[in-house]
């Protein structure tokens, strides 16, 4: 029963992403949107256990607008339609903003 975590703030500016990671469970889904895209450059991202089955998504135009390059071997590039679908296919949504 995964949770969708919508991360909208940069960890360089707020504690939100760190708090998201505190409650992250195996097989949860993260969507980096808005300033959350800056977290792709934050060291906290490396603390996510690669074996926990966490799906990491980034909204393409939110990253592109910020000149954030998405490494597609690490992240799934999504659009707004995909985010809508993720909210319906996961069990609950927590917005970190």
């Amino acid at each position: 029963m995964p949770t969708l975590h919508i991360v909208r703030q940069s960890a360089f500016n707020s504690d939100d992403f760190a708090q998201c990671l505190q409650v992250l469970r195996d097989n949860d889904v993260i969507a980096f949107i808005d300033d959350g895209c800056y977290n792709l450059h934050h060291q906290l991202i490396n603390t996510i256990n690669s074996e926990a089955g966490i799906q990491l998504n980034v909204i393409d135009k939110h990253a592109q607008a910020r000149a954030i390059t998405i490494d597609e071997s690490l992240y799934t590039v999504i659009n707004m339609n995909d985010l809508v679908n993720l909210t319906l296919t996961t069990s609950r949504v927590i917005t970190w903003q």
Partner: protein, 123 residues
């Protein structure tokens, strides 16, 4: 189905009490949900834990002390109050709260408990 079942709701408090309205805004929701008999739990994480710490007095800085209302939680059937142990530890705090029914949960249990709720609102 979805019209008949009262959805278990979590209100996740993440901000310190005085310099913005988040704590009060969350409290207003909690009290309304409680009075509508909507099953609701309160979670405190990050700087949100400061809302529960003993010995505060907002009156000194002209804050209408909404934290005192926390004492009325049980009258609103708000009996599930959870606080994140790790957030306390990060701030060098011990479990000394201004209300009694607070349950301190280790990180994993806090996460599991939160995930047992249908809807999560975070302030």
């Amino acid at each position: 189905m979805s019209d008949t079942l009262n959805k278990l709701t979590a209100i996740l408090n993440a901000k310190a009490p005085y310099s913005n309205t988040a704590g009060k805004d969350a409290l207003d929701i909690a009290l309304i949900f409680g009075s509508f008999e909507q099953p609701t739990s309160l979670f405190f994480q990050g700087d949100g834990v400061w809302q529960l710490m003993q010995g505060q007095d907002g009156a000194i800085i002209s804050v209408k002390d909404y934290l005192k209302t926390f004492a009325a939680f049980e009258f609103y059937d708000l009996e599930n109050i959870y606080i994140c142990q790790e957030s306390l530890t990060q701030r060098g705090l011990t479990a000394a709260f201004h209300i009694e029914q607070v349950k301190v949960l280790a990180k994993k249990e806090f996460a599991e408990k939160l995930a047992s709720h249908h809807t999560v609102l975070r302030f």
